[in-house]
Each structure stands twice: as structure tokens, then as C-alpha cells.
């Protein structure tokens, strides 16, 4: 009978207080809520606020509430009668001793509940801790998983509660809560409890969104790595993917390739569906390119693609929310190479790109008296300058991959299909030289490292390792010292 009244109280409390607060006052939003299993499971989440348990209970259907138990510290929530009433009765919590007596298994009631088919809400950090910080997980979750083989663990990351009602705050302040639900999984019970706890923590942290920018100093712009050069298309794409993946394991990385945007974080690599998600419109540049016969055999559509990708790249660079941007190809190198071929008739010294760079960056307008020359010889530069189409950024690390033209052609032949007119050894060799010369000229004008690599028998992994090494070296060289960071030290 006592349990009956307890369940009535639980449902009334949730219907009249918890759910209205969670849905209407703090406006909780869920991501992938459908992944919550229909059967027993243990929900594991970060813990920063007393709201956490209430929010996680709303993950479950209303009719399952009496079979969901948040795990609560017996010493804290059993302190007063009011706290016992709210926690143990109205929230259906299950008390455990944080400092058990010798020989006592504090997890025994939880195991019994799981055996009955109930679900648990578990905060392995043990306490609310510091706002916004996920403390190391205690081994309790590991021991629980070891003792209940096959138990489904549902990782959840919540952002928002730490700002609403963090530890030490008396008055809650409503802002939104986002609960990001991960895929439920079981862990190998043969592992040590500590190892399981660490794996669970990694799974929870993998769900954390990029932290919102707090007031104050902004982070540095991302390091740009452009992978260019005349090699087989598949090889270049493989190298690009590998570099993006590897840098993504270090810090948030975005990969930009033709019709492909990837976000790599940890081992996660997503291909954005439906092409590039931020299309700023390629119709207009393509139309202009067609009108002014831009790009030679690249044709207008390539010019339009290039402008669109540059806009996306600019947006990423301005926002500074990722640490690395990896590009397949580079717009600035392409435009300068076209200009070298047409405007300078293959001759270009180190000083000459200066004018073009100023025109491409939009710092200087092309004088109307020179328009006709540019329209005839370098219409891409003229269009970019006149219509402010884009400002292609220079990379921090430019990777120039080279391959023997015969090797490239052999690759093209094995791929099948007819070779196009320009796909001949002489042209490919000339193109390689052009890229190399432009890169050298560019290096004298902007702060950029060039990695010139001749590919013979190396695989994508080997090439990516070399690029990664250089990228980290460039990053280390570009990091401001403590003296640079502190204006008072820099200007005593």
C-alpha cells in the first residue's frame, strides 16, 4: 500500500511540477531521443545540477516513470525529511552510500532493481562538481557493468543545467537545456572497472557539442592545410581524407573538398548529405564565368564551385570554431596559376603576384583602364575584383603533391574512359611546374609554408603522416608565446 501511494505521488509530482518545469520553464530539447531503449538500461550522464535527474527522467515515456530510478547519495539526500520526501518518494530515487561500511556492497540494490527490469539514472562523477567541467568517472559504473553482463548503457550529455542551477547557486535562472542522447551499448565485462568507467566517460564526452563562446578573448583562427598538386584524383582524395581524420582526432577539424564537407572529431567523420550545406549561390559566378569565357578548360562551373567553396572556407575561418581546416585544392593557387598561364604567358617572377594578390584580396580595385587587358587575359581576377565574388585565403601549409605524368596517365587509363585533350604528359608536367612556381612566388608574399612532395610508391597513410608532422610544426611555430599574449609583458 505504501508503494501504491508512493507511485501516485511520483506521477502527480512529475505531471504537475517536473514535466512542466522541464518542458516549459527551461525548454528542454532532445537530440536522438528515439535511441532510449524500451527495456531496462542504465542512463549515464554528466552531472552539474539538481535538475539533471528530472531532465533525464523525461527521456522515458510517462508510463515507465515508476520503473526508473535516479541513483542518489544517501548521505546528502537523506539528510532532512524534506529532502528524503522529494528525492526518495517524489523522484523515485534509489539511495546508495558513497562511503559504504566494510564488506557492504553499495551497488546491491541497483543490481536487484536491474534484475527486476527497472532502469537507472547514474551520475558516475559522484557529485555535481564544478559548473561546465566533467570530472573523472568513479569506478562504480564499471563495477556495475562487470556484475551485470550485457547491461545496456545509454550515454547522455546535457548542456544548460550548469548555467541554470549550478552547485552553490540558490536561485535557478532559466535558460534552455540540450540533452544529446548517444547510442546504447554494452561493455566488455572482462575489462577492469576503471577501464570501463573511462570508456563510458569517453562515450559521454563524445556527445558534447562545441562549447558556446563565453564573453572575453576569442580563440585563434584555424590552421589551414591545402592539399594540392597534380596527382591521381583518388590518391589526392585519400590523402585529404586521411589528414582530415587524423587532425580530427587531435582537435575539431573541418575538411573541404569538391561537393563534400566533413567534420572530423575523434573517430567521427561525417559526410554532409546533399552537397555543401552552405551554398551561397554558384549560379551568379557560373553565369559570369560563362559570359566572360573564364577558366579555359575548367569552364564556368568549376569557377562557380571554387567561389562557393571559398565562401564556405571564409565562413569557417571567420568563425574560428574549428582548429584545423583541410582543403582539397586551393582557390588562390588555382586563380594565380590561371593568371600565370594566361596573363604572364608562363613567365612570372616573385614580385609579380603582388598586384594580383591585392586585386584578388579586394584591397585595391583594378583601374578601369586595365579592364580590357584583364578581361582578355585574366578574367577570373577581374570578376573576383569587380563583383567582390570572394576573397580566397592563403593556406598556412600548402602541400604540393607531384607524380610522374606517366604514372598519373596510367592511373587515368586504369580508371577507364577516354582521356581528354589536355591529359597528356607534356601538359601535366607544365601544370606541375606552374603550381610549383606560383607556390614559390606566393611564399615570398604571404606567410605560408610549402611542402613539396614527390609521390612514388608511398601510400596515403605515409603521405598523411608527413603532412601531419609539418602541420603540427607550423602550428607550434605560429603559437604566440606567453609574452605575445600578455600585452603588458610585450610593451613594458
Amino acid at each position: 500500500m505504501k508503494r501504491f501511494f508512493q507511485i501516485i505521488g511520483l506521477y502527480l509530482f512529475h505531471a504537475l511540477f517536473v514535466r512542466p518545469v522541464v518542458f516549459f520553464v527551461v525548454g528542454t530539447r532532445y537530440r536522438r531521443r528515439h535511441l532510449v531503449p524500451g527495456g531496462p538500461c542504465i542512463v549515464v550522464a554528466n552531472h552539474n545540477s539538481h535538475l539533471d535527474a528530472g531532465v533525464l527522467m523525461t527521456l522515458f515515456p510517462f508510463w515507465r516513470l515508476h520503473r526508473v530510478h535516479p541513483v542518489a547519495a544517501a548521505d546528502y539526500f537523506g539528510e532532512t525529511m524534506f529532502m528524503r520526501l522529494v528525492a526518495m518518494t517524489l523522484m523515485n530515487a534509489m539511495p546508495i552510500a558513497r562511503t559504504p561500511a566494510p564488506g557492504e556492497d553499495p551497488l546491491a540494490p541497483i543490481k536487484q532493481a536491474i534484475a527486476r527490469g527497472d532502469s537507472m539514472i547514474f551520475f558516475p562523477e559522484g557529485s555535481r562538481g564544478k559548473a561546465g567541467v566533467v570530472s573523472p568517472f568513479r569506478t562504480g559504473i564499471g563495477r556495475l557493468v562487470k556484475d551485470c553482463p550485457g547491461l545496456l548503457v545509454l550515454p547522455v550529455f546535457m548542456s544548460g543545467p550548469e548555467r541554470i542551477w549550478a552547485r552553490g547557486q540558490t536561485v535557478p535562472v532559466p535558460v534552455n537545456i540540450h540533452a544529446n542522447v548517444g547510442r546504447p551499448r554494452s561493455y566488455d565485462p572482462a575489462l577492469e572497472a576503471r577501464q570501463i568507467a573511462e570508456q563510458v566517460r569517453e562515450d559521454v564526452l563524445a556527445l558534447a557539442p562545441p562549447p558556446p563562446a563565453p564573453p572575453g578573448r576569442k580563440s585563434d583562427p584555424p590552421l589551414r592545410v591545402s592539399i594540392c598538386g597534380v596527382v591521381g584524383r583518388e590518391l589526392r582524395r585519400d590523402v585529404f581524407m586521411e589528414v582530415t581524420r587524423r587532425l580530427g582526432r587531435l582537435q575539431p577539424t573541418v575538411g573541404l573538398a569538391d561537393r563534400l564537407v566533413m567534420r572530423a572529431e575523434g573517430d567521427l567523420l561525417n559526410e554532409a548529405g546533399g552537397g555543401i550545406p552552405l551554398a551561397y549561390g554558384r549560379a551568379w559566378p557560373t553565369f559570369l564565368a560563362g559570359l566572360f569565357r573564364t577558366g579555359g578548360w575548367f569552364k564556368g562551373s568549376s569557377f562557380g564551385d571554387m567561389i562557393e567553396r571559398t565562401h564556405l572556407s571564409e565562413a569557417l575561418g571567420d568563425g574560428r570554431s574549428c582548429r584545423y581546416v583541410v582543403e582539397e585544392g586551393n582557390a588562390l593557387l588555382d586563380v594565380l596559376s590561371w593568371a600565370k598561364a594566361d596573363f604572364y604567358q608562363g613567365r612570372m617572377d616573385e614580385k609579380e603576384p603582388q598586384h594580383l594578390l591585392r586585386y584578388i584580396s579586394g584591397k585595391k580595385r583594378i583601374p578601369p583602364g586595365n579592364w580590357w587587358t584583364f578581361i582578355r587575359k585574366a578574367p577570373e581576377v577581374w570578376l573576383i575584383n569587380l563583383f567582390h565574388l570572394a576573397r580566397p585565403p592563403a593556406p598556412d601549409l600548402l602541400v604540393l603533391l607531384r607524380q610522374q605524368p606517366e604514372q598519373i596517365l596510367a592511373g587515368l587509363r586504369t580508371r577507364g574512359g577516354e582521356l581528354r585533350g589536355f591529359e597528356n604528359p607534356a601538359f601535366l608536367a607544365e601544370l606541375q611546374d606552374t603550381f610549383g612556381e606560383v607556390a614559390q612566388a606566393l611564399r615570398g608574399r604571404v606567410r605560408m609554408k610549402v611542402l613539396d612532395m614527390t609521390v612514388e610508391s608511398q601510400g596515403p597513410e605515409e603521405i598523411a603522416s608527413r603532412i601531419l608532422e609539418e602541420a603540427l610544426a607550423v602550428q607550434a611555430a605560429g603559437e604566440p608565446s606567453e609574452q605575445d599574449r600578455d600585452p603588458e609583458m610585450a610593451n613594458p
Binding site: K218, L278, G281
Partner: protein, 290 residues
């Protein structure tokens, strides 16, 4: 039309439906067009709010406006987090909602113009400045004040417009839609310089407004002729452009760019801010043209 609701309401519903249809038709093109149906979905809700404000008595409709203000402000403070010590300023922002809506309910414009600067623009900086640690104070104050300006000050004008005429709010909704749709279809970066984009947007909105006034007589609802409606649409287009400019700047400062957008966050600002930002502009326009 012989329906139990005013023509302006029916016309607003039709305008939202047309926008929704266009959005669904072009979403397959990908890129920016993919987000259009969600924007149209937002306008179903916002259009409903305008209709309720227009039709229902103020004691019933203003609490709904207060709820929308609260929800908007809450989401804004999630997207643009403040310092932990600014929590009382955030609470004050919420507490100001009834304070600012009281003169709106009374229709006392003079009181409204006194309440806003005194309670919002003078008390807020003081509450922000309480304490010893002032690092990030200006940044935090700017974030807080912007939220208050967008969702309380601008939002309150929707309530003030209920005192003018029953058809004012539906007309406002129609003209904002007319100003926003071409801009959203064209994308954030039209060719040419900023001035060119601005002029193009204003001209298109003005032309749509003029055509609607000539063909459907939307200006007659509030006593405006076709030229005045076109001018109003152009005025609103200016406001919407300004709102986009501000939200783009905020999004950039908050680092809500492509990766964050892929995570599905931050789109809220870009949808609601242009809609409420244009309200004070339209109110003053109506006062100006009498």
C-alpha cells in the same frame, strides 16, 4: 470575403501558406534552400501569434506575447551565454517582461517610453556591474542588452500595435514576409557590394508591396494607398536587412558558423530577430504617415 474573420487575417494565412509552398518546392535545390521550410514553419507559429494578438482581447493575448518573449530570451541566453555572475541580470530581464507589458496593456505610450529607458537601459548596466570582478563586463553587458532590446523592447511593439487597428498586425506580417522571402531566396551573399544588395532588396520588397496594394487592396485595411504600402514594405525591408546584418555579426562573434549550424544550433536568432526587429520601424512608419 464573407468569412467570420477579417480579410487581413485570411490574407496573412494565405501569405504564410504561399511561402510554405514555395519553400517546400525549392528545398530540393539544397544549400540555403534546405532551411526555407523550417523558416516557413516558424512563420506558421509567428503568424498565429500575430493573428491572436490582432483578434483576441489584450488580457488574453498579451500573456501569450509574454510567454513568447520569455521563451525567446531564454533561448537567446542559452545561445549567447553570460558570465556566471550575471545570473541576476538574466533574472532581471525575465522580471522586466510584465513591467514592460503593463504600459502596453494600458496603451500608455508615454509610460512605455519612460519605463523602457529607466528600467532597461539604466538599471541593467548597474546590475551587471555589481561585484569586484569586471573582466568581460562590456562584452557581457552588450550581450544582455541586445537580448533585451530584441525580445523585450522590439517585441513590446507587437503589443503596442494592437492599439492601432485590428488589421495592422496582419499587414505587418505580410510585409515582413514580402521583405524576407526574396532575401532568403537570394541567400546571404548576393553579388555586388552591400549597398547594391540593400537597394535590390528594398526595391523588390517595395514592388511586392505595391503590387499587393494595387491588386488586393491590402493598404485599404489601415487607410494606406498603394504608394504608402510600397514605402512601408521598403522601410520594413531596410529593417529586415539591418536585422540580418546584426544577427550575422552576432552569429560570427558567437562562432555559430558552419560546424555549429551542422549541429542544429543557433538558427533561432536568424528566424525570430528579423520578425521582431521590424516592429518598431513599422510602428513609427504608421505614426509618420498618419
Amino acid at each position: 470575403m464573407g468569412l467570420p474573420v477579417p480579410d487581413s487575417i485570411v490574407f496573412l494565412a494565405i501569405a504564410v501558406a504561399v511561402v510554405g509552398f514555395i519553400s517546400l518546392a525549392v528545398r530540393g535545390r539544397g544549400g540555403r534552400f534546405r532551411t526555407l521550410p523550417m523558416w516557413a514553419g516558424f512563420w506558421i507559429g509567428f503568424g498565429l501569434l500575430l493573428m491572436i494578438l490582432s483578434l483576441a482581447p489584450r488580457w488574453a493575448s498579451l500573456p501569450l506575447l509574454a510567454a513568447v518573449m520569455f521563451a525567446s530570451l531564454r533561448t537567446y541566453f542559452f545561445v549567447a551565454p553570460m558570465r556566471l555572475k550575471d545570473r541576476y541580470s538574466v533574472l532581471l530581464a525575465y522580471a522586466t517582461i510584465p513591467l514592460i507589458l503593463w504600459p502596453v496593456y494600458l496603451g500608455n505610450v508615454e509610460l512605455f517610453f519612460n519605463v523602457v529607458p529607466v528600467t532597461l537601459f539604466l538599471v541593467f548596466p548597474a546590475v551587471f556591474s555589481i561585484g569586484h570582478d569586471h573582466s568581460g563586463l562590456l562584452d557581457s553587458m552588450g550581450r544582455g542588452m541586445l537580448g533585451v532590446v530584441f525580445f523585450l523592447y522590439c517585441g513590446a511593439y507587437l503589443g503596442l500595435m494592437t492599439h492601432l487597428d485590428q488589421d495592422v498586425l496582419p499587414l505587418f506580417g505580410i510585409l515582413v514576409l514580402a521583405a524576407e522571402l526574396p532575401q532568403r531566396m537570394a541567400g546571404g551573399r548576393l553579388p555586388g557590394r552591400f549597398l547594391g544588395r540593400l537597394v535590390l532588396g528594398v526595391l523588390v520588397a517595395g514592388a511586392i508591396g505595391y503590387l499587393m496594394a494595387r491588386q488586393f487592396g491590402v493598404g485599404d485595411w489601415v487607410g494606406l494607398n498603394a504608394n504608402q504600402v510600397a514605402l512601408g514594405a521598403a522601410f520594413i525591408s531596410l529593417a529586415v536587412t539591418a536585422a540580418h546584418l546584426v544577427t550575422n555579426g552576432i552569429a560570427s562573434d558567437l562562432e555559430m558558423n558552419a560546424p555549429s549550424t551542422l549541429m542544429g544550433r543557433g538558427v533561432f536568432l536568424g528566424r525570430i530577430v528579423p520578425a521582431v526587429y521590424a516592429a518598431p520601424f513599422f510602428y513609427y512608419f504608421l505614426i509618420l504617415v498618419g
